[in-house]
Protein backbone atom coordinates (compact mmCIF):
# COMPACT_ATOMS: atom_id res chain seq x y z
CA UNK A 1 0.00 0.00 0.00
CA UNK A 2 2.88 2.38 0.84
CA UNK A 3 3.98 2.35 -2.81
CA UNK A 4 0.53 3.42 -3.99
CA UNK A 5 0.28 6.08 -1.27
CA UNK A 6 3.51 7.57 -2.62
CA UNK A 7 2.29 7.41 -6.22
CA UNK A 8 -1.10 9.02 -5.55
CA UNK A 9 0.35 11.34 -2.91
CA UNK A 10 2.93 12.71 -5.35
CA UNK A 11 0.32 13.18 -8.07
CA UNK A 12 -1.94 15.01 -5.61
CA UNK A 13 0.91 17.14 -4.24
CA UNK A 14 1.99 17.97 -7.81
CA UNK A 15 -1.53 19.09 -8.70
CA UNK A 16 -1.66 21.26 -5.56
CA UNK A 17 1.67 22.90 -6.37
CA UNK A 18 0.51 23.54 -9.94
CA UNK A 19 -2.75 25.04 -8.66
CA UNK A 20 -1.03 27.34 -6.18
CA UNK A 21 1.54 28.47 -8.79
CA UNK A 22 -1.24 29.12 -11.28
CA UNK A 23 -3.07 31.18 -8.66
CA UNK A 24 -0.02 33.05 -7.37
CA UNK A 25 0.48 36.44 -8.86
CA UNK A 26 2.95 39.00 -7.61
CA UNK A 27 1.36 42.27 -6.56
CA UNK A 28 -2.17 40.85 -6.69
CA UNK A 29 -4.91 42.90 -5.07
CA UNK A 30 -6.67 41.98 -1.84
CA UNK A 31 -9.81 41.37 -3.91
CA UNK A 32 -7.96 38.84 -6.09
CA UNK A 33 -6.48 37.11 -3.04
CA UNK A 34 -9.65 36.95 -0.94
CA UNK A 35 -12.36 36.68 -3.64
CA UNK A 36 -10.57 34.99 -6.58
CA UNK A 37 -11.34 38.02 -8.75
CA UNK A 38 -15.09 37.13 -8.50
CA UNK A 39 -14.84 35.26 -11.80
CA UNK A 40 -15.44 31.55 -11.14
CA UNK A 41 -16.91 29.47 -13.98
CA UNK A 42 -19.44 26.61 -13.87
CA UNK A 43 -17.21 23.53 -13.53
CA UNK A 44 -14.96 25.10 -10.91
CA UNK A 45 -18.00 26.56 -9.16
CA UNK A 46 -19.77 23.20 -8.87
CA UNK A 47 -16.66 21.39 -7.69
CA UNK A 48 -15.61 24.05 -5.18
CA UNK A 49 -19.10 24.28 -3.67
CA UNK A 50 -19.41 20.49 -3.59
CA UNK A 51 -15.94 20.02 -2.13
CA UNK A 52 -16.58 22.59 0.58
CA UNK A 53 -19.90 20.88 1.37
CA UNK A 54 -18.95 17.22 1.08
CA UNK A 55 -15.91 16.63 3.18
CA UNK A 56 -14.69 14.21 5.80
CA UNK A 57 -18.24 14.60 7.08
CA UNK A 58 -19.55 12.81 3.96
CA UNK A 59 -16.59 10.57 3.28
CA UNK A 60 -16.37 9.03 6.77
CA UNK A 61 -19.29 10.48 8.68
CA UNK A 62 -22.16 9.46 6.43
CA UNK A 63 -21.22 5.75 6.10
CA UNK A 64 -21.00 5.67 9.90
CA UNK A 65 -24.33 7.51 10.21
CA UNK A 66 -26.02 4.96 7.89
CA UNK A 67 -24.37 2.12 9.84
CA UNK A 68 -25.67 3.39 13.19
CA UNK A 69 -29.01 4.99 12.25
CA UNK A 70 -30.10 3.18 9.07
CA UNK A 71 -31.75 4.37 5.87
CA UNK A 72 -33.32 7.51 7.39
CA UNK A 73 -29.85 9.07 7.10
CA UNK A 74 -30.71 9.62 3.40
CA UNK A 75 -33.47 12.05 4.41
CA UNK A 76 -31.15 13.75 6.89
CA UNK A 77 -28.66 14.72 4.18
CA UNK A 78 -29.85 13.99 0.64
CA UNK A 79 -33.42 15.32 0.83
CA UNK A 80 -32.14 18.33 2.80
CA UNK A 81 -29.48 18.93 0.13
CA UNK A 82 -32.12 18.61 -2.62
CA UNK A 83 -34.19 21.31 -0.90
CA UNK A 84 -31.06 23.36 -0.27
CA UNK A 85 -30.10 23.54 -3.96
CA UNK A 86 -33.57 24.85 -4.82
CA UNK A 87 -33.24 27.41 -2.01
CA UNK A 88 -29.77 28.25 -3.33
CA UNK A 89 -31.32 29.24 -6.64
CA UNK A 90 -33.59 31.75 -4.89
CA UNK A 91 -31.11 33.00 -2.29
CA UNK A 92 -28.24 33.18 -4.78
CA UNK A 93 -30.27 35.58 -6.90
CA UNK A 94 -31.19 37.72 -3.88
CA UNK A 95 -27.67 38.07 -2.51
CA UNK A 96 -26.08 38.67 -5.89
CA UNK A 97 -28.58 41.46 -6.57
CA UNK A 98 -27.85 42.91 -3.13
CA UNK A 99 -24.08 43.03 -3.58
CA UNK A 100 -24.25 44.21 -7.20
CA UNK A 101 -22.08 47.25 -7.66
CA UNK A 102 -20.48 47.04 -4.23
CA UNK A 103 -17.39 45.24 -3.01
CA UNK A 104 -18.36 42.06 -1.18
CA UNK A 105 -16.29 41.68 1.99
CA UNK A 106 -17.93 38.68 3.57
CA UNK A 107 -21.32 38.25 5.19
CA UNK A 108 -20.28 40.13 8.36
CA UNK A 109 -19.39 43.25 6.39
CA UNK A 110 -22.52 43.00 4.23
CA UNK A 111 -24.91 42.48 7.11
CA UNK A 112 -23.32 45.35 9.05
CA UNK A 113 -24.04 47.60 6.08
CA UNK A 114 -27.58 46.27 5.63
CA UNK A 115 -28.51 47.12 9.21
CA UNK A 116 -26.32 50.19 9.46
CA UNK A 117 -25.10 48.62 12.68
CA UNK A 118 -21.68 47.03 13.10
CA UNK A 119 -23.01 44.71 15.85
CA UNK A 120 -24.88 42.69 13.22
CA UNK A 121 -21.49 41.80 11.69
CA UNK A 122 -19.93 41.07 15.08
CA UNK A 123 -22.77 38.77 16.18
CA UNK A 124 -22.58 36.85 12.90
CA UNK A 125 -18.81 36.60 13.11
CA UNK A 126 -19.05 35.27 16.66
CA UNK A 127 -21.51 32.56 15.56
CA UNK A 128 -19.35 31.61 12.57
CA UNK A 129 -16.25 31.43 14.75
CA UNK A 130 -17.90 29.40 17.53
CA UNK A 131 -19.45 26.84 15.22
CA UNK A 132 -16.92 26.55 12.42
CA UNK A 133 -13.81 26.05 14.55
CA UNK A 134 -14.96 22.81 16.30
CA UNK A 135 -16.19 21.52 12.94
CA UNK A 136 -12.80 22.23 11.37
CA UNK A 137 -11.16 20.60 14.39
CA UNK A 138 -13.11 17.36 14.15
CA UNK A 139 -12.36 17.07 10.43
CA UNK A 140 -8.65 17.43 11.04
CA UNK A 141 -9.03 14.83 13.79
CA UNK A 142 -10.87 12.49 11.38
CA UNK A 143 -7.94 12.58 8.97
CA UNK A 144 -5.45 12.11 11.83
CA UNK A 145 -7.32 9.01 13.10
CA UNK A 146 -7.35 7.58 9.61
CA UNK A 147 -3.65 8.27 9.07
CA UNK A 148 -2.78 6.65 12.37
CA UNK A 149 -4.68 3.53 11.29
CA UNK A 150 -2.92 3.53 7.93
CA UNK A 151 0.57 4.09 9.35
CA UNK A 152 0.47 2.77 12.94
CA UNK A 153 3.26 4.01 15.19
CA UNK A 154 4.79 6.41 12.66
CA UNK A 155 3.40 9.66 14.15
CA UNK A 156 1.10 10.49 17.05
CA UNK A 157 -2.37 11.71 16.15
CA UNK A 158 -1.49 15.33 16.98
CA UNK A 159 1.53 15.10 14.67
CA UNK A 160 -0.73 14.28 11.71
CA UNK A 161 -3.09 17.12 12.74
CA UNK A 162 -0.20 19.56 12.91
CA UNK A 163 1.04 18.50 9.46
CA UNK A 164 -2.42 19.04 7.96
CA UNK A 165 -2.74 22.50 9.53
CA UNK A 166 0.71 23.51 8.25
CA UNK A 167 -0.04 22.40 4.67
CA UNK A 168 -3.36 24.22 4.85
CA UNK A 169 -1.73 27.46 6.03
CA UNK A 170 1.09 27.45 3.48
CA UNK A 171 -1.30 26.65 0.67
CA UNK A 172 -3.81 29.37 1.56
CA UNK A 173 -1.02 31.90 2.06
CA UNK A 174 0.49 31.28 -1.39
CA UNK A 175 -2.58 30.94 -3.53
CA UNK A 176 -5.48 32.66 -1.75
CA UNK A 177 -9.08 31.76 -2.56
CA UNK A 178 -8.29 30.85 -6.17
CA UNK A 179 -5.84 28.15 -5.08
CA UNK A 180 -8.40 26.83 -2.61
CA UNK A 181 -10.98 26.68 -5.40
CA UNK A 182 -8.55 24.76 -7.65
CA UNK A 183 -7.74 22.31 -4.86
CA UNK A 184 -11.49 21.94 -4.26
CA UNK A 185 -11.93 20.94 -7.89
CA UNK A 186 -9.25 18.25 -7.55
CA UNK A 187 -10.77 17.07 -4.28
CA UNK A 188 -14.35 17.05 -5.59
CA UNK A 189 -13.42 14.71 -8.44
CA UNK A 190 -11.23 12.56 -6.21
CA UNK A 191 -13.99 12.24 -3.61
CA UNK A 192 -16.52 11.14 -6.21
CA UNK A 193 -14.20 8.54 -7.73
CA UNK A 194 -12.94 7.09 -4.43
CA UNK A 195 -16.32 6.93 -2.73
CA UNK A 196 -17.77 5.07 -5.72
CA UNK A 197 -14.88 2.59 -5.91
CA UNK A 198 -15.26 1.73 -2.23
CA UNK A 199 -19.06 1.88 -2.38
CA UNK A 200 -19.14 -0.45 -5.36
CA UNK A 201 -16.83 -2.93 -3.59
CA UNK A 202 -19.16 -2.86 -0.56
CA UNK A 203 -22.23 -3.40 -2.75
CA UNK A 204 -20.52 -6.31 -4.53
CA UNK A 205 -19.97 -7.91 -1.12
CA UNK A 206 -23.76 -8.41 -0.94
CA UNK A 207 -24.27 -9.18 -4.64
CA UNK A 208 -26.79 -6.39 -5.24
CA UNK A 209 -29.08 -3.85 -3.62
CA UNK A 210 -31.97 -6.20 -2.73
CA UNK A 211 -29.72 -8.83 -1.07
CA UNK A 212 -27.96 -5.98 0.78
CA UNK A 213 -31.14 -4.73 2.45
CA UNK A 214 -32.36 -8.30 3.02
CA UNK A 215 -29.16 -9.08 4.91
CA UNK A 216 -29.28 -5.83 6.90
CA UNK A 217 -32.95 -6.46 7.75
CA UNK A 218 -32.03 -9.87 9.11
CA UNK A 219 -29.35 -8.34 11.32
CA UNK A 220 -31.40 -5.39 12.62
CA UNK A 221 -34.75 -4.59 11.04
CA UNK A 222 -34.97 -1.12 12.62
CA UNK A 223 -32.19 0.01 10.28
CA UNK A 224 -34.62 -0.20 7.35
CA UNK A 225 -36.97 2.49 8.65
CA UNK A 226 -37.04 5.68 10.69
CA UNK A 227 -36.36 6.62 13.47
CA UNK A 228 -33.64 3.91 13.33
CA UNK A 229 -32.33 1.69 16.13
CA UNK A 230 -31.22 4.65 18.27
CA UNK A 231 -34.52 6.49 17.82
CA UNK A 232 -32.59 9.57 16.60
CA UNK A 233 -34.17 10.18 13.19
CA UNK A 234 -37.57 11.39 14.29
CA UNK A 235 -39.62 13.65 12.00
CA UNK A 236 -38.75 16.60 14.26
CA UNK A 237 -35.00 15.90 14.21
CA UNK A 238 -35.08 15.52 10.43
CA UNK A 239 -37.14 18.68 9.95
CA UNK A 240 -34.85 20.75 12.21
CA UNK A 241 -31.89 19.33 10.24
CA UNK A 242 -33.55 20.38 6.98
CA UNK A 243 -33.80 23.98 8.22
CA UNK A 244 -30.20 23.92 9.47
CA UNK A 245 -28.98 22.60 6.08
CA UNK A 246 -31.20 25.04 4.14
CA UNK A 247 -29.45 27.87 5.98
CA UNK A 248 -25.97 26.69 4.90
CA UNK A 249 -25.69 29.02 1.87
CA UNK A 250 -26.91 31.92 4.02
CA UNK A 251 -24.97 31.45 7.23
CA UNK A 252 -21.84 29.43 6.45
CA UNK A 253 -19.58 32.12 4.97
CA UNK A 254 -17.50 29.77 2.81
CA UNK A 255 -20.64 29.01 0.76
CA UNK A 256 -22.00 32.55 0.62
CA UNK A 257 -18.63 33.69 -0.71
CA UNK A 258 -18.72 31.01 -3.42
CA UNK A 259 -22.17 32.13 -4.57
CA UNK A 260 -20.99 35.72 -4.87
CA UNK A 261 -17.73 34.95 -6.72
CA UNK A 262 -19.48 32.98 -9.48
CA UNK A 263 -18.96 34.60 -12.88
CA UNK A 264 -22.65 35.31 -13.63
CA UNK A 265 -26.18 34.68 -12.43
CA UNK A 266 -26.62 32.01 -15.10
CA UNK A 267 -23.46 30.19 -13.96
CA UNK A 268 -24.64 30.35 -10.35
CA UNK A 269 -28.00 28.85 -11.26
CA UNK A 270 -26.50 25.99 -13.28
CA UNK A 271 -24.13 25.40 -10.38
CA UNK A 272 -27.14 24.86 -8.10
CA UNK A 273 -28.58 22.16 -10.38
CA UNK A 274 -25.24 20.42 -10.86
CA UNK A 275 -24.65 20.51 -7.11
CA UNK A 276 -27.95 18.69 -6.56
CA UNK A 277 -26.93 15.94 -8.99
CA UNK A 278 -23.48 15.78 -7.40
CA UNK A 279 -25.08 15.40 -3.94
CA UNK A 280 -27.09 12.37 -5.04
CA UNK A 281 -24.04 10.80 -6.67
CA UNK A 282 -21.84 11.32 -3.61
CA UNK A 283 -24.32 10.28 -0.91
CA UNK A 284 -25.57 7.14 -2.70
CA UNK A 285 -22.42 5.02 -2.28
CA UNK A 286 -22.18 5.98 1.41
CA UNK A 287 -25.36 3.87 1.91
CA UNK A 288 -23.51 0.82 0.54
CA UNK A 289 -20.49 1.44 2.77
CA UNK A 290 -22.72 1.95 5.81
CA UNK A 291 -24.70 -1.25 5.14
CA UNK A 292 -21.42 -3.11 4.66
CA UNK A 293 -20.44 -1.79 8.09
CA UNK A 294 -23.69 -3.19 9.54
CA UNK A 295 -22.90 -6.62 8.13
CA UNK A 296 -19.21 -6.74 9.00
CA UNK A 297 -18.51 -4.30 11.82
CA UNK A 298 -21.75 -3.58 13.62
CA UNK A 299 -20.26 -4.20 17.06
CA UNK A 300 -17.11 -2.22 16.32
CA UNK A 301 -16.37 1.39 17.23
CA UNK A 302 -16.18 4.25 14.74
CA UNK A 303 -12.41 4.17 14.28
CA UNK A 304 -12.23 0.40 13.71
CA UNK A 305 -15.04 0.61 11.16
CA UNK A 306 -13.23 3.35 9.24
CA UNK A 307 -9.92 1.49 9.26
CA UNK A 308 -11.41 -1.82 8.15
CA UNK A 309 -13.96 -0.65 5.57
CA UNK A 310 -11.73 1.95 3.92
CA UNK A 311 -8.28 0.38 4.30
CA UNK A 312 -7.84 -3.22 5.33
CA UNK A 313 -10.73 -4.66 3.29
CA UNK A 314 -9.72 -2.84 0.10
CA UNK A 315 -7.04 -3.68 -2.48
CA UNK A 316 -3.81 -1.75 -1.80
CA UNK A 317 -4.26 0.85 -4.53
CA UNK A 318 -7.87 1.56 -3.44
CA UNK A 319 -6.78 1.93 0.21
CA UNK A 320 -4.03 4.33 -0.92
CA UNK A 321 -6.54 6.27 -3.01
CA UNK A 322 -8.83 6.44 0.04
CA UNK A 323 -6.03 7.92 2.13
CA UNK A 324 -5.22 10.59 -0.44
CA UNK A 325 -8.94 11.20 -1.09
CA UNK A 326 -9.54 11.72 2.60
CA UNK A 327 -6.60 14.09 2.98
CA UNK A 328 -7.84 16.04 -0.02
CA UNK A 329 -11.43 16.08 1.31
CA UNK A 330 -10.45 17.30 4.75
CA UNK A 331 -7.83 19.73 3.52
CA UNK A 332 -10.04 21.57 1.06
CA UNK A 333 -13.01 21.87 3.41
CA UNK A 334 -11.02 23.00 6.42
CA UNK A 335 -9.07 25.36 4.20
CA UNK A 336 -12.32 26.84 2.86
CA UNK A 337 -13.70 27.29 6.37
CA UNK A 338 -10.61 28.88 7.87
CA UNK A 339 -10.18 31.13 4.84
CA UNK A 340 -13.86 32.15 5.07
CA UNK A 341 -13.35 33.15 8.70
CA UNK A 342 -10.43 35.29 7.49
CA UNK A 343 -12.72 36.92 4.89
CA UNK A 344 -15.31 37.62 7.57
CA UNK A 345 -12.68 39.22 9.78
CA UNK A 346 -11.55 41.37 6.86
CA UNK A 347 -15.14 42.59 6.41
CA UNK A 348 -15.15 43.87 9.98
CA UNK A 349 -11.82 45.67 9.86
CA UNK A 350 -11.39 49.31 8.91
CA UNK A 351 -8.40 51.28 7.69
CA UNK A 352 -5.56 50.89 5.23
CA UNK A 353 -5.95 47.87 2.88
CA UNK A 354 -2.39 46.61 3.50
CA UNK A 355 -2.87 46.69 7.25
CA UNK A 356 -6.26 44.95 6.87
CA UNK A 357 -4.67 42.18 4.79
CA UNK A 358 -1.89 41.71 7.33
CA UNK A 359 -4.42 41.45 10.16
CA UNK A 360 -6.54 39.06 8.06
CA UNK A 361 -3.55 36.77 7.45
CA UNK A 362 -2.69 36.84 11.15
CA UNK A 363 -6.35 36.02 11.82
CA UNK A 364 -6.21 32.99 9.48
CA UNK A 365 -3.09 31.81 11.33
CA UNK A 366 -4.74 32.21 14.75
CA UNK A 367 -7.92 30.42 13.62
CA UNK A 368 -5.80 27.52 12.32
CA UNK A 369 -3.95 27.23 15.62
CA UNK A 370 -7.22 27.18 17.58
CA UNK A 371 -8.65 24.56 15.17
CA UNK A 372 -5.51 22.47 15.70
CA UNK A 373 -6.04 22.45 19.48
CA UNK A 374 -9.69 21.57 18.98
CA UNK A 375 -8.67 18.65 16.77
CA UNK A 376 -6.78 17.23 19.74
CA UNK A 377 -9.47 17.67 22.38
CA UNK A 378 -12.82 17.34 20.60
CA UNK A 379 -14.60 13.96 20.68
CA UNK A 380 -17.92 13.50 18.90
CA UNK A 381 -19.62 11.85 15.96
CA UNK A 382 -18.59 13.66 12.78
CA UNK A 383 -22.11 13.99 11.42
CA UNK A 384 -23.68 15.17 14.67
CA UNK A 385 -20.99 17.80 15.20
CA UNK A 386 -21.47 18.98 11.62
CA UNK A 387 -25.18 19.24 12.30
CA UNK A 388 -24.54 21.32 15.42
CA UNK A 389 -22.31 23.56 13.31
CA UNK A 390 -25.06 24.02 10.68
CA UNK A 391 -27.72 24.63 13.37
CA UNK A 392 -25.51 27.04 15.35
CA UNK A 393 -24.74 29.28 12.39
CA UNK A 394 -28.31 28.70 11.14
CA UNK A 395 -29.64 30.67 14.11
CA UNK A 396 -28.23 33.74 12.36
CA UNK A 397 -30.32 32.90 9.24
CA UNK A 398 -33.40 35.05 10.01
CA UNK A 399 -31.22 38.07 10.80
CA UNK A 400 -29.21 37.72 7.58
CA UNK A 401 -32.22 37.03 5.37
CA UNK A 402 -34.07 40.00 6.83
CA UNK A 403 -31.07 42.27 6.26
CA UNK A 404 -30.67 41.13 2.66
CA UNK A 405 -34.33 40.96 1.65
CA UNK A 406 -35.92 43.90 3.39
CA UNK A 407 -35.82 47.27 1.69
CA UNK A 408 -37.19 49.00 4.75
CA UNK A 409 -35.59 50.65 7.76
CA UNK A 410 -35.45 47.70 10.12
CA UNK A 411 -35.18 47.75 13.89
CA UNK A 412 -31.88 46.43 15.27
CA UNK A 413 -33.80 44.28 17.77
CA UNK A 414 -33.28 41.15 15.65
CA UNK A 415 -29.49 41.56 16.00
CA UNK A 416 -29.62 41.45 19.81
CA UNK A 417 -32.27 38.74 19.84
CA UNK A 418 -30.12 36.59 17.52
CA UNK A 419 -27.28 37.05 19.99
CA UNK A 420 -29.57 35.95 22.83
CA UNK A 421 -30.62 32.94 20.70
CA UNK A 422 -26.97 32.08 20.19
CA UNK A 423 -26.28 32.22 23.93
CA UNK A 424 -29.35 30.06 24.67
CA UNK A 425 -28.24 27.48 22.11
CA UNK A 426 -24.74 27.41 23.60
CA UNK A 427 -26.18 26.94 27.10
CA UNK A 428 -28.19 23.95 25.88
CA UNK A 429 -25.09 22.45 24.22
CA UNK A 430 -23.30 22.78 27.56
CA UNK A 431 -26.26 20.97 29.23
CA UNK A 432 -26.90 23.99 31.46
CA UNK A 433 -30.46 24.33 30.15
CA UNK A 434 -32.71 21.67 28.53
CA UNK A 435 -32.73 21.18 24.75
CA UNK A 436 -36.47 20.45 24.53
CA UNK A 437 -39.37 22.78 25.38
CA UNK A 438 -43.06 21.84 25.10
CA UNK A 439 -41.92 18.75 23.20
CA UNK A 440 -40.09 20.87 20.60
CA UNK A 441 -36.33 20.82 20.01
CA UNK A 442 -34.62 24.04 21.08
CA UNK A 443 -32.89 24.60 17.72
CA UNK A 444 -36.21 24.30 15.88
CA UNK A 445 -37.86 26.60 18.40
CA UNK A 446 -35.11 29.22 17.94
CA UNK A 447 -35.43 29.07 14.14
CA UNK A 448 -39.19 29.54 14.39
CA UNK A 449 -39.13 32.34 16.99
CA UNK A 450 -36.38 34.30 15.23
CA UNK A 451 -38.12 33.71 11.89
CA UNK A 452 -41.37 35.19 13.22
CA UNK A 453 -39.47 38.13 14.76
CA UNK A 454 -37.79 38.76 11.40
CA UNK A 455 -41.16 38.86 9.63
CA UNK A 456 -42.59 41.22 12.26
CA UNK A 457 -39.50 43.46 12.00
CA UNK A 458 -39.99 43.71 8.25
CA UNK A 459 -43.70 44.45 8.50
CA UNK A 460 -43.17 47.14 11.13
CA UNK A 461 -40.21 48.69 9.29
CA UNK A 462 -41.00 52.12 7.80
CA UNK A 463 -38.70 53.90 5.41
CA UNK A 464 -36.72 52.63 2.46
CA UNK A 465 -33.18 51.82 3.40
CA UNK A 466 -30.22 53.28 1.58
CA UNK A 467 -27.06 51.26 1.94
CA UNK A 468 -23.90 53.26 2.08
CA UNK A 469 -20.56 52.51 3.65
CA UNK A 470 -20.87 55.69 5.75
CA UNK A 471 -24.16 54.49 7.23
CA UNK A 472 -22.41 51.98 9.43
CA UNK A 473 -22.22 53.36 12.96
CA UNK A 474 -18.83 53.40 14.54
Amino acid sequence: MIFWVWVFGLIYAGLLVMASLKSYKKGRSAEEFMMAGSNVGLSLGVLTFAAALFSTFTFLGMPDFFRVNGVGAWIFLAVSDGAMVFFLLWFGYQIRMKVKGMEFRGVSGLIGRCYGNKWAGYVFFLAAFLFLIPYVGIQIQGIAIFMEAAFPGSLPSWGWSLGIVLIMLIYAEIGGLKAIIFSDAIQGLLLLVVIWIIGWACLSHFGGIAPMFERVGNIQEELLSTPGPQGLLTPQFLFASLIAILMIPVTQPQFTTRIVVMKSMKTMQLMAVSLGAFAILVILPTIFIGMYGVDMYQEYGRDEFFANAFLYDQPNFVAALAIIGLIAAGLSTTNAQIFALGSELRGLLKGNENSIMTKTKIGIFVFSVIAFFFSIIVIDQLVLLARVSFAGTGIMGPMILLGILSNRKISSAIIYLSFVGLVIFLLSLADIIPDMYFGIRLDLLLFLVLGVIAIISHLTGKEHQLIREDDVKH
Binding site: V79, V85, L89, S225, I280
Partner: protein, 76 residues
Protein backbone atom coordinates in the same frame (compact mmCIF):
# COMPACT_ATOMS: atom_id res chain seq x y z
CA UNK B 1 -42.07 37.56 -18.06
CA UNK B 2 -45.49 37.21 -16.44
CA UNK B 3 -45.69 33.51 -17.36
CA UNK B 4 -42.17 32.93 -16.08
CA UNK B 5 -43.10 34.43 -12.73
CA UNK B 6 -46.16 32.18 -12.58
CA UNK B 7 -44.10 29.05 -13.35
CA UNK B 8 -41.44 30.14 -10.88
CA UNK B 9 -44.06 30.54 -8.13
CA UNK B 10 -45.45 27.12 -9.00
CA UNK B 11 -41.97 25.61 -8.74
CA UNK B 12 -41.48 27.23 -5.31
CA UNK B 13 -44.80 25.85 -4.04
CA UNK B 14 -43.94 22.39 -5.39
CA UNK B 15 -40.51 22.47 -3.69
CA UNK B 16 -42.02 23.49 -0.34
CA UNK B 17 -44.77 20.84 -0.57
CA UNK B 18 -42.29 18.10 -1.51
CA UNK B 19 -39.99 19.06 1.35
CA UNK B 20 -42.80 19.09 3.89
CA UNK B 21 -44.35 15.82 2.70
CA UNK B 22 -41.05 14.12 3.49
CA UNK B 23 -41.63 14.59 7.22
CA UNK B 24 -45.10 13.09 7.24
CA UNK B 25 -46.02 9.40 7.69
CA UNK B 26 -46.53 9.34 3.93
CA UNK B 27 -42.76 9.07 3.51
CA UNK B 28 -41.48 8.19 6.96
CA UNK B 29 -44.01 5.94 8.69
CA UNK B 30 -42.25 5.17 11.98
CA UNK B 31 -40.89 1.65 12.18
CA UNK B 32 -42.32 0.60 8.78
CA UNK B 33 -40.06 -0.59 5.95
CA UNK B 34 -42.68 -1.97 3.55
CA UNK B 35 -43.78 -1.90 0.76
CA UNK B 36 -40.31 -2.32 -0.67
CA UNK B 37 -39.43 -1.43 -4.27
CA UNK B 38 -36.84 -3.72 -5.83
CA UNK B 39 -35.82 -4.73 -2.32
CA UNK B 40 -35.30 -1.09 -1.26
CA UNK B 41 -37.01 -0.08 2.03
CA UNK B 42 -40.08 2.16 1.71
CA UNK B 43 -38.71 5.36 3.28
CA UNK B 44 -35.53 5.12 1.21
CA UNK B 45 -37.12 4.75 -2.21
CA UNK B 46 -39.78 7.38 -1.55
CA UNK B 47 -37.27 9.88 -0.22
CA UNK B 48 -34.92 9.10 -3.11
CA UNK B 49 -37.69 10.02 -5.55
CA UNK B 50 -38.29 13.25 -3.61
CA UNK B 51 -34.59 14.13 -3.77
CA UNK B 52 -34.51 13.60 -7.53
CA UNK B 53 -37.74 15.59 -7.91
CA UNK B 54 -36.23 18.51 -5.96
CA UNK B 55 -33.18 18.55 -8.23
CA UNK B 56 -35.44 18.42 -11.32
CA UNK B 57 -37.45 21.31 -9.86
CA UNK B 58 -34.20 23.23 -9.39
CA UNK B 59 -33.44 22.66 -13.08
CA UNK B 60 -36.92 23.87 -14.03
CA UNK B 61 -36.32 26.82 -11.71
CA UNK B 62 -33.24 27.85 -13.71
CA UNK B 63 -35.39 28.02 -16.86
CA UNK B 64 -38.28 29.97 -15.37
CA UNK B 65 -36.55 32.15 -12.76
CA UNK B 66 -37.64 35.72 -13.56
CA UNK B 67 -34.27 37.07 -12.40
CA UNK B 68 -32.49 35.81 -15.51
CA UNK B 69 -34.43 38.25 -17.66
CA UNK B 70 -33.69 41.09 -15.29
CA UNK B 71 -29.99 40.37 -15.60
CA UNK B 72 -30.21 40.31 -19.41
CA UNK B 73 -32.07 43.63 -19.33
CA UNK B 74 -29.34 45.05 -17.08
CA UNK B 75 -26.69 44.05 -19.60
CA UNK B 76 -28.44 45.56 -22.61
Amino acid sequence: MHMKKKYWNMSCVAAVVLSLVTFTPLVIPQGVSKPMLGGIPYSLWTSFIITVALVVLTFIGTRVHPGMEEEEEDKS
